[in-house]
Subunit: 265 residues, 2 copies
DNA sequence: CCGGCGTGTGAACATCCGGTGACCGCCGAG
DNA sequence: CTCGGCGGTCACCGGATGTTCACACGCCGG
């Protein structure tokens, strides 16, 4: 029953590369009703431009892409691994469909098709991404002296803003959300920047440095971002001096016996 | 890093609920060739049983499910959010397909269909699943006093880091994963370094030594890596003194939730 | 019991990696 | 049209790692 399923709590961002005006019209109307942010493109745009759109999913008619369709599809899928890609195109053979899917497309729907089915497929494709990325709506996270407020797009120490820029914030937010885990640069880059990192890019390192600088200035007694040589970074609030190892997952500690050590000092 | 990692290495685990013997036969053959662990079920099995199979993906023909198909589908998708679900069934209407996808199915393919397309779609679904929710969910492996945490790229003894470098970690991770089995240098090199070992290369030996040193320092009472002269190395936690002979090899294979026998053999 | 490999070491050497600081181009605000 | 903030690149460098060597030592077959 009309489970209108507000799964779309957060607006999806969708781009459609197609030229079938009739189809687009109906689709547009439907998308509008759903409240999805969408944009239709009559011709293939540079991959960079797509990246800039920060899309959740992309629907594309291979026919519109012309001869370099396969190449384009592959590049899009490679450079934006997190993007949901649904090919919606006319007549096709099994071989073509298999090829498209193997290149990275998430689904393939033949035309003519019902807009509702296309939407359902896009939802299905995006659904998984959501599930994992599902760390939305978190008012605030705390670690050490740090308090990260997603709603303010800012981190604070004792109420004082650390004065992070957007990227810096997104980075620390990701790290903090994965507290304790070591994140590899590629993963960080992909999740913060949205597309694949090219080998040799030092952006992550540079931003980590900027973050560390600001955090150091605002919260000198703590260390938050730890480097794992040859791997990546790990977020964990630790005092500058060895004091108080964060008792972390650790093991069954002194449990009973050991009367709690008073933090007299 | 080209670390394509074991992502592709670990076999997929797939179950197919269908009765079309002809189709199944072809599919089976193909899956066999791909090296996927698979199992076909002629009738819907309890969701619990499915859970026990630890599947990566499930292919199901709604027709086989009978009247409670929708309900079954929904339950499966709800209880196993990480499972890739591909409906592969006969004639269907747009409304049915939309319903199936909305209930949680990841893809819907009509019959008759080409096995290759079905496989490509399953791959696409699994690919997405891995990419998103994926990332390491390997809690930790333990052996002796050792605890190997993949999410930290590090091994611990009683909560204390053994302080391994990336290579060292990958090496011990591989060895531990093959606990009890003797691995030849060539294989080790191939799997850790990613390419063929040139004759005369002592890298593996050197790293084994480094590992042994660090492990010895952190966990003196145990021996983990054993040399098999003229062959290679074997991982097995054993006390330094002869104490506690490895219990019974009784073959620690009970673990595997392999409650069901997959035709992976 | 002896000599030949295959392995364990330790250290020198060659690379790779990550921390920095400087610099550049884009863009919105003034 | 400027100016300043921000995101992103570069080149340099010290240190962490990985690789290669030469040698000592132990396991094996004769």
């Amino acid at each position: 029953m009309t489970t209108e399923r507000s799964s779309s709590a957060q607006p999806l961002r969708l781009a459609v590369i197609d030229t079938d005006s009739g189809f687009l019209q109906v689709l547009d109307k439907r998308l509008e009703r759903l409240g999805w942010e969408h944009r239709t493109l009559a011709s293939p745009v540079p991959v960079d431009a797509l990246v800039a759109m920060r899309l959740s999913a992309l629907v594309v008619d291979l026919a519109v892409l012309g001869p370099s369709a396969w190449d384009y599809l592959e590049r899009v899928c490679t450079e934006m691994p997190g993007l949901g890609v649904v090919v919606c195109t006319g007549q096709s053979t099994v071989a073509q469909r298999v090829r498209g899917l193997r290149l990275g497309a998430d689904d393939w729907l033949g035309k003519p098709c019902h807009p509702e089915e296309l939407i359902a497929r896009v939802e299905a494709v995006v659904r998984r991404r959501r599930r994992s990325d599902a760390r939305e709506e978190r008012p605030a996270v705390a670690a050490g002296e740090l308090e990260i407020r997603a709603d303010r797009f800012q981190a604070f120490v004792d109420g004082v803003s650390v004065d992070l820029t957007r990227r810096e914030f997104e980075l620390i937010e990701l790290l903090a959300a994965s507290e304790g885990r070591v994140l590899e640069r590629e993963e960080i880059y992909q999740r913060v920047w949205g597309y694949a990192m090219v080998r040799g890019d030092r952006s992550v390192d540079v931003f980590v440095r900027k973050l560390r600088q600001k955090l150091e200035k605002t919260s000198p007694a703590w260390r938050y971002i730890h480097t794992h040589f040859g791997v990546g970074y790990r977020f964990a609030a630790e005092r500058a001096d060895g004091t108080e190892p964060p008792a972390d997952v650790a093991d069954a500690e002194p449990a009973a016996g050991a009367a709690v050590a008073f933090s007299s000092s």
